[in-house]
């Protein structure tokens, strides 16, 4: 019977192996056919002319994720300080389950919310500025992603702060530091690895998010023009065109997924490195 349990445990190893094999086997040949530099650094994506450069999408993913970090990280860290040190005990369980609910809302619902609420807001703003546009911009996508990564950052940062020994906190207070100074000068630096792991996990979520972005980002396949212009990410590139793509076009989309997958593997490696470090602390 131990063998059965062992075989079941092999399932996840097998799954990762299959995912790697199928993605790389289908994506790498396209990369070499297009030319690895033309593919990764090409600034034009025109499948009808057999031009497949995904630099616009790579930059799009990076910009949108950076925007999400700028919006989500400060709010997330300050909120986790609130949860760990300021929240009254009576309402804590409600707020804790509220952050879990934030994590559970499907991405398509976030996308829809962005489409019906934030897109019109941005559209009104750009119209008032005389720029025009339909409101589907890099900024819109960043705002939605910033909201979506909040629960990840809050959860990880809060538990990292809670694992800092109480003596640190009390010692600092006893030396006359204010509560705020203690938290930002003593507790957060002590919880640094955990806080950074939370941010990196947030980056992973933002860069891999698809449906919420596709509904609000505009999806124009060109180099990012500015935060009030539309943008296309690697994930949305796949969903937009997979439905009708064939031959090299189809393989180029799979190769896009390979690039995305490599990004995610690097981010995963960073997270497990950080986790190991915070365990050793």
């Amino acid at each position: 019977m131990q063998g059965v349990f062992f075989l079941a445990a092999c399932a996840s190893v097998l799954a990762v192996a299959l995912i790697c094999i199928f993605l790389f086997a289908n994506g790498i040949p396209a990369m070499s056919e297009i030319g690895i530099f033309d593919f990764l650094l090409g600034e034009e994506w025109r499948p009808s002319n057999n031009i497949y450069g995904i630099l616009p999408m790579i930059m799009g993913s990076i910009y949108v994720t950076a925007g999400a970090i700028v919006i989500g990280v400060p709010i997330g860290i300050f909120t986790s300080v609130f949860m760990a040190h300021y929240c009254p005990k009576k309402i804590y369980p409600f707020l804790k389950s509220a952050t879990e609910l934030l994590a559970g809302i499907p991405s398509v619902v976030y996308g829809f919310f962005g489409l019906v609420v934030i897109v019109p807001m941005i559209r009104n703003y750009t119209a008032a500025q005389g720029i025009g546009g339909n409101g589907q911009t890099m900024l819109t996508a960043s705002i939605i992603l910033g909201i979506m990564i909040l629960p990840t950052i809050i959860g990880v940062t809060e538990s990292a702060m809670r694992s800092v020994p109480d003596q640190y906190y009390e010692g600092s207070l006893a030396l006359g530091a204010t509560k705020e100074r203690t938290i930002f000068r003593i507790v957060i630096p002590a919880a640094k690895s955990g806080v950074i792991a939370g941010i990196v996990l947030g980056i992973g979520r933002a860069i891999g998010e698809t449906m919420a972005v596709i509904m609000v980002a505009g999806n124009q396949p060109r180099m990012p023009q500015g935060i009030l212009e539309g943008v296309r990410t690697m994930t949305t590139n796949i969903v937009m065109e997979m439905g009708y793509a064939a031959d090299l076009h189809r393989e180029a989309l799979i190769a896009t997924a390979v690039v995305l997958f490599v990004f995610i593997l690097i981010i995963n490696a960073c997270v497990s490195l950080l986790n190991r470090r915070s365990e050793n602390d």
Binding site: Q2, V13, L23, V109, G111, V271
Partner: protein
């Protein structure tokens, strides 16, 4: 205390409260906005068994979602629980294979749903020749929720006190009997919490299902036929832009299900902590 430090403290405190207010206000606003605009659109016609251009009924998608969820769970739960039993009850400390399993489950957890979708399309739909089908979607989803079920089961098994196991061994029960009669039943609430979270993820998933289960808006007659789930249905409605009212109504149903699943999962988890103390 110098004046500068005092101002610094006040500014930080304001920022802390403001950030918390923003976080919870966004959640409340999102829930309220979808409910207020969506509930009036929940008309009986949306629950008719047939989807056509005059009536974008969500009932077929709802039924497909239930089938998809059950199938994925049937596939993923045995693998998840058995793997966790191996990790907690059988594997020796410092076993290298355990390290590999940990690494792969962590990797699985980080993979974006669109990559799962593409893999499902390449492997189940094309290589195995299943075509766009509920079955291909369910297998894809089961890989996606496997790490979640493994992790929660593992934690639940670890939370069962060793005295339970020792007592069972002391009474002469074998290892297998101890696991299935003593340890697993004690861990059920924790496992349930994980399974319920997994249900929430399956119901809300879109990107992994578009190119595996397909987007046919009818009830899937067999596991080999294509069918869209509720989340895919909602994406298609809002991207077509013709049925926004129905999209709002679908969003309400998705939200209600997710809120209910979260509450249930928290309830099950609370029961676990009470049971072991």
């Amino acid at each position: 205390m110098t004046k500068g430090r005092k101002i610094e403290s006040i500014i930080l405190r304001v920022l802390i409260y403001a950030a918390a207010a923003v976080t919870f206000a966004v959640l409340l606003f999102l829930l309220a906005y979808i409910l207020i605009n969506g509930v009036p659109n929940l008309k009986p016609s949306l629950f008719s068994l047939e989807y056509n251009t005059e009536n974008a009924s969500l009932m077929p998608a709802l039924i497909n979602t239930v089938i998809m969820t059950l199938l994925s769970l049937v596939i993923a739960i045995p693998f998840g629980i058995f793997s966790a039993i191996f990790l907690v009850e059988y594997a020796k400390k410092g076993n290298r294979f355990v390290g590999i399993i940990r690494l792969t489950t962590e990797t699985l957890q980080g993979i974006p749903s669109i990559v799962y979708g593409l893999f499902g399309m390449l492997f189940f739909v094309t290589a195995l020749g299943w075509g766009y089908s509920i079955l291909a979607g369910a297998f894809t989803m089961s890989i996606m929720i496997l790490p979640l079920i493994m992790r929660t089961t593992e934690e639940a098994l670890k939370a069962v006190p060793d005295t339970y196991r020792e007592g069972s061994f002391g009474l002469g029960a074998g290892k297998l009997r101890t696991i299935f009669r003593i340890v697993l039943p004690a861990a059920v609430p924790g496992i349930m919490a994980g399974v319920i979270l997994a249900i929430g993820r399956i119901m809300g998933e879109t990107a992994a299902l578009m190119y595996t289960a397909g987007t046919v808006p009818d009830i899937a007659a067999t596991p080999m036929s294509s069918g869209r789930t509720l989340a895919v249905h909602m994406y298609n409605l809002s991207s077509e832009g013709l049925y926004m009212d129905q999209a709002y109504a679908t969003a309400v149903i998705l939200l209600v299900v997710v809120v209910a699943m979260n509450a249930l999962s928290a309830f099950a988890a609370r029961k676990l902590t009470k049971g072991t103390r």
